[in-house]
């Protein structure tokens, strides 16, 4: 039996005989009959050409993000894709190698990871960053478990802002239920921002961490210094989650405001929006807690000739060495996406990222002004609160209803908050990036006028 060729009838007979079984059904007897199907109602097999043509026709009825004025965000953002990014990451040395970490053969990969960590460290304002995690949601989970470890497992409460992306909170709930950690959710005030006093009161002296998102799920920038102080007053760590990483080009990361962990999603750094990802989690903390950090870490060293070289370091925290007592069950990193983000950030440069972020912010402000000018029945849910490039728009109907009506006017106007729960109005999260030319803003404003 060749490893690349599927098992034929003869192979199957051989395998069953070896197992002492009479039939395939016997092999799968442990699967309950109720969930098995006898036959699938499929059309007869078709040739490859037919399938390509037919599926192509079906796919062409989808609406691509770039085919309309698009304001989708809510955790996944559309930003410029310089062609250098794909050119570098498609190199076989990077693309076909599955996360190689042996320093003898992987200096290129390890250097990229080291550069990624350096970039994340600078953007977050914290001095240690890891080699990346799977996505923003699991980075939040890791931050909570990290805080629990740093406080030696003695504090079983975590205070979580309701304005952290609802999907992230669901992932967190899934993980920490088993860890026996209790979650207290704090809703935002009437301005869509957290009230530090409420955080302080909820955390008391029982919380291992206070986790907040900024800009939050509603696009609003939180008062990070006040929130860090509120967390620290009761001895909890302060955790900032960032879902729109480009905001870090304009807004200082939580490390500058005494946050202990800044983590989140770096999809904005060169990774095209796609169903199911891939995404890219990042995690940075104060180096005094370095040994509790989850995931891989590349370090700089010298080789036997005294030349600068890179290798994984502090691996004794990790699962392949520490087994059940490892700091995390992540024993890898999101290598190719970390490379993407690194090339993208290095292509942008510090000033480029700032210009890009400024452009997102300015366009967002411009769109808010235009929508305010359209007026009734459209309104911005939290008009007085500072935003980066996203805001909640409320109109005549539910969010899902508005999306459909605006799509029929040729505009993908945003992500509906309908069905997410939350103490905010049912509406549309509208995100603006540098990829929205002035004509997009006009298209949305005229569609809103038309539906008013």
């Amino acid at each position: 039996m060749h490893p690349w060729v599927g098992a034929g009838p003869e192979d199957r007979r051989h395998i069953l005989a070896e197992l002492g079984l009479k039939s395939i059904d016997e092999l799968f007897a442990s699967i309950p009959a109720g969930v098995c199907v006898d036959s699938l109602n499929l059309p007869p097999a078709r040739d490859e050409n037919w399938i390509r043509r037919t599926l192509g026709e079906m796919a062409s009825t989808n609406v691509a993000m770039d085919s309309m004025a698009c304001f989708l965000g809510a955790g996944v953002y559309r930003h410029v894709q310089p062609s250098i990014v794909d050119a570098v990451l498609s190199r076989a040395e990077f693309f076909t190698s599955y996360t190689p970490y042996q320093p003898e053969i992987s200096q290129g990969t390890l250097q990229v990871i080291f550069e990624f960590q350096t970039l994340i460290s600078r953007l977050t304002g914290l001095d240690s960053a890891n080699a990346s995690l799977y996505d923003g949601a699991t980075s939040l989970v890791e931050a909570v478990l990290f805080s629990h470890r740093v406080l030696r497992g003695k504090r079983d409460l975590v205070v979580v802002a309701e304005t952290i992306h609802p999907m992230y909170r669901r992932v967190l709930d899934t993980y920490i239920e088993a860890a026996g950690i209790e979650v207290a959710v704090v809703a935002p005030g009437a301005d869509g921002r957290l009230n530090p006093d409420e955080i302080r009161e909820t955390a008391g002296d029982r919380a291992c961490c206070v986790a907040v998102q900024s800009p939050n799920f509603l696009g609003i920038v939180e008062d990070l210094p006040q929130l860090a102080a509120a967390a620290h007053d009761g001895g909890a760590l302060a955790v900032e989650v960032v879902t729109e990483a480009v905001s870090l080009g304009l807004l200082a990361g939580g490390g500058s405001f005494d946050f202990d962990v800044v983590c989140g999603e770096a999809q904005s750094f060169g990774i095209a929006p796609g169903f199911g990802g891939p995404h890219l989690g990042f995690f940075a903390c104060d180096s005094k807690h370095l040994r509790q950090m989850p995931g891989r870490l590349a370090g700089e060293t010298v080789d036997e000739n005294g030349e600068r070289a890179f290798c994984l370091t502090l691996s004794t925290r990790e699962q392949h060495i520490r087994r059940a007592k490892a700091t995390s069950n992540i024993c890898t990193n999101q290598g190719l996406m970390a490379l993407t983000a690194t090339v993208w950030l290095e292509a942008m440069g510090g000033s480029g990222l700032r210009e890009l972020a400024t452009s997102c912010f300015m366009r967002g402000e411009e769109l808010k002004r235009r929508i305010t000018a359209v007026g009734d029945p459209w309104r911005i849910a939290y008009p007085q609160s500072p935003t980066f490039n996203e805001f909640l728009l409320v109109g005549p109907g539910s969010g899902t209803d508005l999306v459909k009506r605006l799509a029929s006017e040729g505009v993908l106007a945003g992500v509906p908050t309908t069905g997410w729960g939350g103490s905010w109005p049912d509406g549309l999260l509208v995100a603006v990036t540098e990829s929205n030319p002035a004509t997009d803003l006009e298209a949305l404003t005229s569609a809103l006028e038309k539906l008013a």
Binding site: R152, R291, R317, I321, R322, K325
Partner: protein, 128 residues
């Protein structure tokens, strides 16, 4: 040859114990540090915490592995060796002296503990 001072008592997880007033000093044996290799980080318990025999007191990280060290006697932590924060290598260089780990309020007179001869025999059995 592994050093096993006569005046100390020993736990079966390779800690040594020495009476010190109403407390005991705890460290790891010469054999244990040799097995671990170069120690690069020591995680110590908090003063005031109480431990039962066999509880995990802290961890020792070497270039090869991370290992727990256990409480050879029951007691409350009265002091930890803070020098190890910056000089973890003391555990290797002077395991029975400056490389001590913690002081526990407790007694070295425990039936669980071995004397030097008993520990030597225990090591020989383990390596047999």
């Amino acid at each position: 040859m592994m050093s096993i001072p006569d005046e100390l008592k020993y736990g079966r997880s390779h800690e040594w114990v020495k009476a010190d007033g109403d407390a005991v000093v705890v460290g790891i044996t010469h054999y244990a540090q040799d097995q671990l290799g170069e120690v690069v980080y020591v995680e110590l318990p908090e003063v005031g915490n109480a431990f039962a025999v066999g509880d995990e007191l802290g961890t020792l990280e070497s270039v090869k592995a991370v290992s727990e060290f256990l409480a050879p006697v029951a007691g409350e932590v009265t002091e930890v060796n803070t020098r190890l924060e910056d000089e973890p290598n003391l555990v290797n260089d002077d395991p029975y002296g400056d490389g001590w780990l913690v002081k526990l309020r407790g007694s070295a007179e425990s039936e669980e503990l071995l004397d030097a001869a008993g520990y030597k025999e225990f090591l020989e059995q383990e390596s047999a």
